[in-house]
């Protein structure tokens, strides 16, 4: 298990970065995910602004031994844009040398789709970006593609979706995600012999309003309610403080222990610890729940690391807002 130092050394990502299932991308601040499907090996993500879909990402893993890369890329491109258009696609050199067979098709007469395909040697995945072009622009090739990064699974992995960002130790896979407006949560699982290790991160916005509705102790109760069937909770909560650079998070923690009558359920972690933190600087409530304290500490220290919303992104949003008003 990595310690806090190794997590801290993981790449820092600004807020308008989107990191999901091992890849990350710098996206315009107005684009948000509207569809997220699949797992690390195969999946699809769709990004849209307020008006229309803008970008789709598809990834698919293939064993290297069986791979005939050129044929595979050609087939995928034909499926996406058709045979005639696929013949017009051109190789595109990428700044990052992990990409093999990088190919770009640019729609000559928009509206249409610009499609890029590349094979990542780091994760053995074929990644496909489909940009919905409404006028002739080189946004995909010049702005989006240079920021595409694929991360190996044996390193701490950053995740960033909407305002929730965290860095998860290697070996964990996303188990469930629940992305409701104002209530975002991700649960990760590391399968191994015996009880799996588990960590979940939940972020509630806006803390100012949430704490007016009920105090943080009640929020902690609410967070642990789902586990109460198999776990009994400690009577006392422990106050805690976490200093993350300029930010200081204060909150409480409480331990859950597996009930004696479920002693035979060795597949369940024997204890859970939940931290409920108030991130005043970001005005968010953060809950981190995990099967061991060091894991919880590591993950909690990384929550919101992408929150320093880049001044450029904010400025762009303000300017666009002012224009339309």
């Amino acid at each position: 298990m990595p310690n806090s130092k190794s997590l801290a050394s993981a790449p820092r990502i600004p807020a308008n970065f989107f990191a999901w299932q091992g890849w990350r991308l710098d996206l315009p601040p107005r684009w948000n995910p509207v569809k997220l499907e699949g797992d690390h090996d195969k999946g699809f993500a769709l990004f849209a602004d307020l008006v229309r879909p803008r970008l789709g990402i598809r990834w698919n893993k293939q064993r290297r031994g069986r791979l005939k890369l050129d044929a595979w890329i050609g087939r995928v491109l034909r499926d996406e844009v058709g045979r005639l258009a696929a013949e017009e696609a051109k190789p595109l050199p990428m700044p990052d040398d992990i990409w093999q067979g990088s190919t770009l098709y640019t729609e000559p007469q928009p509206p249409g789709r610009d499609v890029w395909i590349g094979y990542s040697r780091k994760s053995d995945r074929l990644v496909q970006l489909i940009y919905h072009a409404h006028r002739r622009e080189r946004l995909l090739a010049d702005t989006i593609l240079p920021t595409l990064v694929d991360l190996p699974q044996d390193q701490p992995m950053p995740w960033s979706v909407f305002e929730l960002s965290c860095i998860i130790p290697p070996g964990f896979r996303l188990h469930t995600h629940r992305l409701n407006a104002g209530d975002l949560s991700l649960t990760f699982l590391q399968r191994r012999r015996g009880a799996p290790r588990q960590v979940s991160v939940r972020q509630v916005a806006v803390a100012e309003l949430a704490l007016k509705r009920m105090p943080i102790e009640k929020w902690l109760d609410d967070q642990q309610r789902g586990s109460r069937k198999f776990y009994s909770r400690a009577r006392k909560t422990t106050p805690l403080e976490l200093a993350l650079g300029e930010r200081e998070l204060a909150g409480i923690s409480r331990l859950l222990k597996r009930r004696w009558r479920f002693f035979f359920m060795f597949r369940l972690p024997s204890r859970f610890i939940t931290w409920a933190l108030h991130d005043e600087a970001r005005d968010r409530l953060v809950f981190v729940e995990g099967s061991d304290e060091q894991l919880v500490r590591d993950v909690a220290a990384s929550v919101g690391h992408a929150a320093g919303v880049s001044a450029d992104a904010d400025r762009a949003l303000d300017n666009e807002g002012a224009d339309s008003e």
Partner: protein, 134 residues
């Protein structure tokens, strides 16, 4: 298909350009917690009149939180849904999608309760949304 799925008749642009307008004239009473209460007089409808008689001066109270008040205050018939979404996102440091989902749903709820109406360029109504951001 026997019952084809109803298509939403408003384009995304039209629904974003719609301008919500308050349909009740009652004043919002602020509470200590930063929220507010809106008392709306109830009117006897023809069908409920057959079953029971409503007492004179009957009111219904709606409770708003601070974010709800911010939206309510902007339902002036001049501010578009898109502008409200942007202001909410900026004020509470939310992503546009989060602000959009919660604002749209809140406005739909207000419209269902008869508290706001939408001024739009074309007459059809919009399909209901869900709370899920993704």
């Amino acid at each position: 298909m026997l019952f084809p799925k109803k298509k939403p008749l408003l384009t995304p642009q039209q629904s974003l350009a719609a301008k919500p307008l308050r349909l009740v004239t009652s004043e919002m009473q602020m509470t200590e917690s930063g929220g507010g209460r809106l008392k709306v007089p109830l009117h006897q409808t023809r069908w409920t009149g057959w079953l029971f008689r409503m007492p004179d001066g009957a009111t219904k109270t709606f409770e708003f939180d601070a974010m709800g008040i911010l939206v309510w205050e902007q339902c002036d018939g001049k501010t578009s849904v898109q502008q409200i979404i942007r202001r909410i996102a900026k004020r509470y440091n939310l992503s546009l999608r989060e602000a959009e989902v919660s604002t749209r749903q809140f406005l739909q709820m207000l419209a269902r309760k008869g508290l706001v109406g939408m001024s739009i360029k074309s007459e059809p109504r919009e399909a209901a949304g869900s709370r899920e951001a993704v």
